[in-house]
Subunit: 134 residues, 4 copies
């Protein structure tokens, strides 16, 4: 399953080069994977409230072409493999002319919020993901 | 007591107008009042850990002259009145040419972190502030 | 004319108080007035490209009630008076329970991008605004 | 030459996990390489004004251990190889307990600001870097 969402570049996300600052791409990827989860029926907010957090442990971003203020961008999200103690997502960002502007891979780990100890992907989430991956 | 601190404008704080984005001034004022507290011997971090938080309830900012990337700016902090259930700070930002670029007033309230209920300024903090204000 | 837009609070917009950081409200108001302009037929992007910029000179924000991660918030935008050399907007933010969380007033000035000199509101923009205000 | 700088984590850089949001590490690395340049006698601001910009084309970040609000962090910067049409930096972030919290590699390319065309590292910069690398 490839999930795709559209958002618009905010003015504040640019810097004086006249394009989106590279640090802000992390925000786009974060929005996209939260919407990916929502689409398969999972609220990340509720997951956190239930005591499971998903911090990022690795992010690799390629910047192919600049994003500009007011661009309506499309972010695609794809899960790279079935989750274990970690989840790996692949993202792509396209501008209005369907040009590939960025691709990225982000690895997150499941942590118990209280103890900050690693844990495996919760069973219900794993089952949901297996269904959409099938 | 007027506290004064120096910091340098980060590239990421600019936007495509080529100057610091107006939303980032809030970060400068926040740094400045945390350093003001540190100077009178108070760690805001420890205050939060002890269960007292200080959210902003009003912020009024005047933008007189743009701040530029790489500017070494001076932020002055002055307490407007002795704290009660709230604290009111006045800030000014000067650029390297000593030009007044921004002035602001920020009101924060003391809240019990757990209950989110308003409370009065903790006694020890009040006494510390009275000393420097005398 | 009161314009209203809906957006969702991003995870990155929160801070360790567990609510949206006060500095990020500026981003919501900025999005809202750009959408207000778009609705009356004006692209702020094209306005900048034509050499007219609209920096903020005053922003007064009241924080009534915290915004939380994942909240779908409604931002209303209202022009306070017909534009002259400046524009004054009034904003309100409501959370999903229709609770008023923030109100703000923002003043922007028309500047010639090249010279950074103040100028009056461009005639075509003024006429468009008069129409919707009538 | 390994350059090292110290900065303090700002409150606004945290998120509701209670640690620094992963997107903000890009800002630390950016500050660090600008200070690295300053130390060898190069102002990135002047480089941009002379028409050469250095956008990021790849950033790979590993998050080993969380950074917390108010931590005084040390960021080390090392150039991976002599610059050609690109520059590659390696960064590490340590917290106050000298724990390695993050490591990253960032690749930037030299672009002519006007034409946005790639170019080789300016000769004077190359000579300066060769000296410190020797």
């Amino acid at each position: 399953m490839i999930h795709s969402m559209i958002t618009r570049v905010r003015y504040a996300e640019t810097d004086q080069m006249g394009v989106v600052h590279h640090g802000n791409y992390a925000l786009y990827f974060e929005m996209a994977r939260i919407e990916w989860l929502r689409q398969i029926g999972v609220s990340y907010k509720e997951m956190e409230e239930s005591g499971v957090i998903l911090p990022v442990v690795n992010m690799t971003t390629n910047y192919h072409y600049p994003l500009e203020y007011d661009d309506q961008i499309t972010i695609t999200t794809r899960l790279v493999k079935l989750p274990t103690a970690s989840m790996v997502f692949h993202f792509e960002i396209f501008n209005e002319n369907k040009k590939l502007c960025s691709s990225a891979e982000v690895t997150l780990v499941f942590l118990d919020h209280q103890s900050r100890k690693p844990m495996r992907c919760p069973v219900e989430l794993f089952e949901l993901i297996k269904t959409v991956a099938a």
